[in-house]
Every structure is written in structure tokens, then in C-alpha cells.
Amino acid sequence: MKYENSPHAFRGSLLAVPVLLLALAALQRNIDASSASLQPEKPELIIRSGTMLSKLSLGYNSLLADIYWTRTVQYFGARAGKQSATFELLAPLLDVTTTLDPKLMIAYRFGAIFLSENEPAGAGRTDLAVDLVKKGIAANPDEWRLYQDLGFLYSIHLKDYQKAADAYLEGSKNPKAQIWMKVLAASIAQRGDDIETSRLIWAQVYASTQDKLVRQRAITHLEALDAAIDLKRLNESSEEYWRKFGHYPDTIQELREAGLAGDRLQDPAGYPYVMGAYGVPQLDPKSPVLLNPDEKIPAK
């Protein structure tokens, strides 16, 4: 019996369901496009207090922390690479995230790097970065990596070598800490942030994280430092050349023929170094490597 009131009558129209779903998905993409142009500076945070949010979340703190962490990454990613980028909300976002979940290590690490990097690569607020890392240390005294971050901040950005060495030393006391913490402590205490020490610091930053953004930033700095080290060495070779021959070399080739050039004649991007005036070696102008990574965001 065919019922008007039974589902048999409706079976045909149920085929409309997958069609509707597809139409909705397509429409959603359009809507995303339309709303994107609407609010480019959408405020990400209405509630700035992590503690208040913590109470509001009714116990689902770490879930909310994860949500805020993804928002932080989105916030940063949407702005990074733009010339006029500012990151006013980065510190509050990270603060909320770490209040909701004080054990979210990745947030402290991210903040240490990108709060301290100068604009437009980061927020340019080393003080906030230090606050964040200290907050992390207070909540996680056993995490020696946070001392690494603290030492990084003091040495690279604040140039306070005493505090930097203290931080590395403090971290090295943890039996789980790796040996280079002690090495760095000593090195900084002795030499400040000369290029080799800086390189070691950034190398450890790179090695100690899986986060793609942090690693990318570390590579930028490492390339700059490697180039600087090479150029320093080549400069010293230039001086030797002058002592030997009475004039500065005109090309790197001449240095090489004199047996003074050493091994590394190319910058980390593969461009050969060139000789400038007065025997001062330089980067090839076409090279994408930046000696000062804070100047400009590289095209890649």
C-alpha cells in the first residue's frame, strides 16, 4: 500500500540529500571568500584574561588551550611575510593559551622566538617574551629547555651576557639537560655573543624543536651567521694577503691562488663570495642570504 504519509513517498526526495550537501560545501567556500575580505583584522580575543577563560571553560581547559593555540598559529601565519605586519595580539594570545594549559611547551618556545624577533618577522617585544618564558619556568621547573629559551633571549636580543650565562647554567643543572648547555654557559660568560657562540645558540634552537615556523626562522639566522663567519674568515685571509703582498686582493680567485682562501667560498645559498673594495669580502648581491635577518623578509 502506498502511503502518502509514509516514507515510501519520500524516498525519491531523499536522493536530494547528497546533492544538497555538495551544494552547501561549494557555497561554504564562497562564503569563506566573501567573509575574508570583510574583516581582515578580525579581533581574535574578546576575553583577554586567561584566568577568566579558564573558569568559563568549565574544566575543558586544555581543549580550549588547543583551540587558542591553533588560533595563535593562524593569527601569526596570516600576518607573517607581510611588509607591514604587526603582532599586537600575539602576546595576549600566547598568554591565554599558556594560562589555560601551562604545560603547552610549544607555546612558550614559539613565543620566545617570535615575540622577540624584530618587526616585521615578529612582535619585537623581547620583554614580553622573557615574561612568557619565566611564566613557563614557574609552571614547569623541570623543563630545562625553557632555560635554553631564556638564555637565548638574554644573549641574542638583550645582550645581557651575565644573565644569559646564568640561565644556561641553571638549566644545565637538570640531569636531563644536554651537555652543550654547560658549554654555552661557559662560552657566553667568556666571550659574550660572538658569532660562533651565537651560531651554537641558534643551532640548538633548530635542533630542539619540530615546529616548522621556528625552524625556518632559525635557518634564516644560521645562514646569516654562517655567512658572517665565512666573511670574517675571508677578511682575516685578506689581511694576511696584504701582509704578504702589500696590497689587498681584487678577487676571491686571487686569494685562492695564494692558498689563503680556505674551503668555504660559497654562501649557504650557493652563491660565491665576491671581493669588495679594500679587500673586504662580501656576499654576492644576487644572493638571498641576509646578513641582518631583521632588515627584510626574504622572498622565500
Binding site: 500500500m1 502506498k2 502511503y3 502518502e4 504519509n5 509514509s6
Partner: protein, 323 residues
């Protein structure tokens, strides 16, 4: 042969029961029935026999497991068929925030009557069921009996040819029951077909041309009430009140039951006048004298017992069996 008003063929309904809905309970088993135009047809059975299920199937409120049914030639699957039928559910309940008038108006709209016609009809039918005084009272204030009457009104206000009533007399006081009886007789006079379920024997006897008996989901038999339900009168029952000053005779007291001041005694038919004389001497106040019938439950117990002892249901007076 003209189209029967109601034609039911092999109508069956199984319900899945139990927490996991694995077991099947058959609440109606291959019902075959035919009701002719203008008949008043009684559908009898104890509680749980499947009477309400049958009515719900006819209304399209539940869907049959198998079988079919037609009303005036139109399938019960056809929602348009509802134009020609009226239905009163058991112990009806309506939107309590509406008044009686508003409710009838709401339902009347579905039949396409314009505002003037609706006003007219509502007035007529409210008067007919004796509710015109409470027309503008909210239904939440209605007593059970009053709701029953609204139920009848909404079932017939669109002048359907076939009317289905589920326990129309239940919950009514004697006056109300009489009024309902009158309405049913009136409908019959106008040539409508009435199909109603009840478990009150005397109502069925008084009103119906034919009755069907349903027990445990199975049709036991169909026929005229007299031939189906002839039962011996067991005796007479006298209801009376004792006079405050005069004590009752001992043999009366032995045999009577009472609640408060009200007494009930059963006597064989032959002894009725003697008993009344005794009571008169005791200056008791007679409330009623009526024949005692075995209850329908008694009848059905006998039926079921008979079934168990016999081979087939053909023991019972067969009556008409439709093709």
C-alpha cells in the same frame, strides 16, 4: 453490491518490544471485516484486545505490518480519504490553551470552510453536544466529560459519512452517556455509518446493528448483538439507602454490601418484590433496581477458556464472514 463503508482485509500489526526491540508482539492478527453503509457497528473486546490499534491503523496514525483497508472505496493510505471520516480518539486531549470554539474553528479550517460557514457549524455542533455555554472557556478548564463531548463535536462537524469513535461513553456521567447515545442514534438516522469501540455491553446492545468481538488481537466473531451476546440474566440488583433510625433485617445485612450509607444487594429475579417489601418496611430509600449482567470481562474469560479447550474459534456463533 455497493461499496461497503468499511472494508478491512488481513490487517495485521506487529510491534517490536523489549529494550533491544528484538521481540515482536502481534497486537492485531489478520483482521477481516466489512461494515455496510448506514450501519452502527460495535467493536467489542477487553482492554488490550487491539481495538484502539485497529482504529489507529484506520486513521493512518500507525502503519500496518501487512493487510489493507478501505473506507468508502478509498485506501487508508490516502490522506484525502480523511475528508469523509470523523474520528474521536480514546480519552481525547486537545490544545489546552484554546477555547472549545477556537479548537473547532482550527479543525474546521482543514476542510476548507470559510469563516462564515465555520461560525455556523461550530454553533450548531456545540449546541448539539451541550457545550454552547462553555464555548469560550479554555480547554484546560474542561472536565473529562466535557472533553469527551468536544471530541465528538470535532469528529462530526464536517459532516463525515463514516464516523469512528473510540470508547465514546467512557468517563461520562449517566446523563452524558445518554446524550452520546442520542447523538449516535441521530447520526444513524441521517444514514451515517458509525464504527465505535467499547467494552460496555449494554451500550453495544442498545445501539448496534452488528458487533465484532476482538480478543488478543484476533477476531472472535461478528454478528447481531443479541445472537452473539445472549446471556442469562443472573438476577436483580437493588441499590438503597438505610433509614437512619430503623435497623435493617439481619438477612438483608448478611447479603448486602455497602459503602457508607449506600447498600447493594443481589436477589434472584423471582424474589425481587419480596425484597423490596422488606426494604419498604425498614423505610429504606430505594435508589435503583436493575438486572445484573455478567460483565463483558466474564464473557471474554469464558470465550478465551472455550478457545483453549476447543479446536478452533468456529465454536462461537460465526455470524457474517466477509469474502
Amino acid at each position: 453490491m455497493s461499496t461497503p463503508a468499511i472494508q478491512i482485509e488481513g490487517l495485521t500489526k506487529d510491534y517490536a518490544v523489549g529494550f533491544w526491540r528484538k521481540k515482536m508482539r502481534r497486537s492485531l492478527d489478520h483482521l477481516d471485516l466489512q461494515v455496510n453503509e448506514g450501519e452502527a457497528f460495535g467493536f467489542l473486546g477487553p482492554n488490550g484486545a487491539g481495538k484502539t490499534t485497529t482504529l489507529k491503523l484506520m486513521m493512518g496514525l500507525v502503519f500496518p505490518t501487512s493487510g489493507s483497508a478501505r473506507v468508502r472505496g478509498r485506501s487508508i493510505a490516502d490522506v484525502g480519504m480523511h475528508r469523509e471520516i470523523g474520528y474521536m480518539p480514546e480519552q481525547p486531549y486537545f490544545y489546552d490553551y484554546l477555547t472549545a470554539r477556537e479548537l473547532l474553528d482550527y479543525f474546521a479550517q482543514f476542510f476548507g470552510y470559510d469563516a462564515v460557514e465555520r461560525r455556523e457549524r461550530i454553533k450548531i455542533f456545540l449546541e448539539r453536544v451541550g457545550l454552547i455555554a462553555s464555548a469560550d472557556v479554555q480547554l484546560r478548564k474542561f472536565s473529562k466529560g466535557m472533553l469527551q463531548r468536544v471530541g465528538i463535536a470535532q469528529a462530526i462537524l464536517h459532516d463525515p459519512q463514516v464516523v469512528f469513535l473510540d470508547e465514546p461513553m467512557s468517563g461520562l456521567d449517566p446523563v452524558g452517556r445518554r446524550e452520546v447515545r442520542d447523538i449516535i442514534l441521530d447520526l444513524k438516522k441521517h444514514g451515517k455509518t458509525i464504527f465505535f469501540s467499547t467494552h460496555i455491553l449494554s451500550d453495544a446492545e442498545m445501539l448496534c446493528d452488528r458487533v465484532a468481538v476482538l480478543v488478543g488481537g484476533k477476531l472472535q466473531g461478528v454478528g447481531a448483538p443479541g445472537e452473539m451476546l445472549s446471556m442469562e440474566v443472573a438476577g436483580m440488583e437493588i441499590l438503597f439507602e438505610a433509614h437512619p433510625g430503623v435497623p435493617l433485617p439481619q438477612k438483608v445485612m448478611d447479603r448486602a454490601t455497602h459503602t457508607g450509607d449506600r447498600y447493594r444487594i443481589e436477589v434472584p429475579e423471582a424474589d425481587v418484590y419480596a425484597a423490596l417489601e422488606e426494604l419498604k418496611n425498614s423505610r429504606a430509600r430505594i435508589l435503583s433496581v436493575a438486572p445484573v449482567r455478567p460483565s463483558l470481562e466474564d464473557y471474554f474469560f469464558k470465550l478465551v477458556a472455550k478457545q483453549k479447550n476447543s479446536v478452533s474459534a468456529a465454536e462461537i456463533t460465526p455470524g457474517e464472514q466477509p469474502r
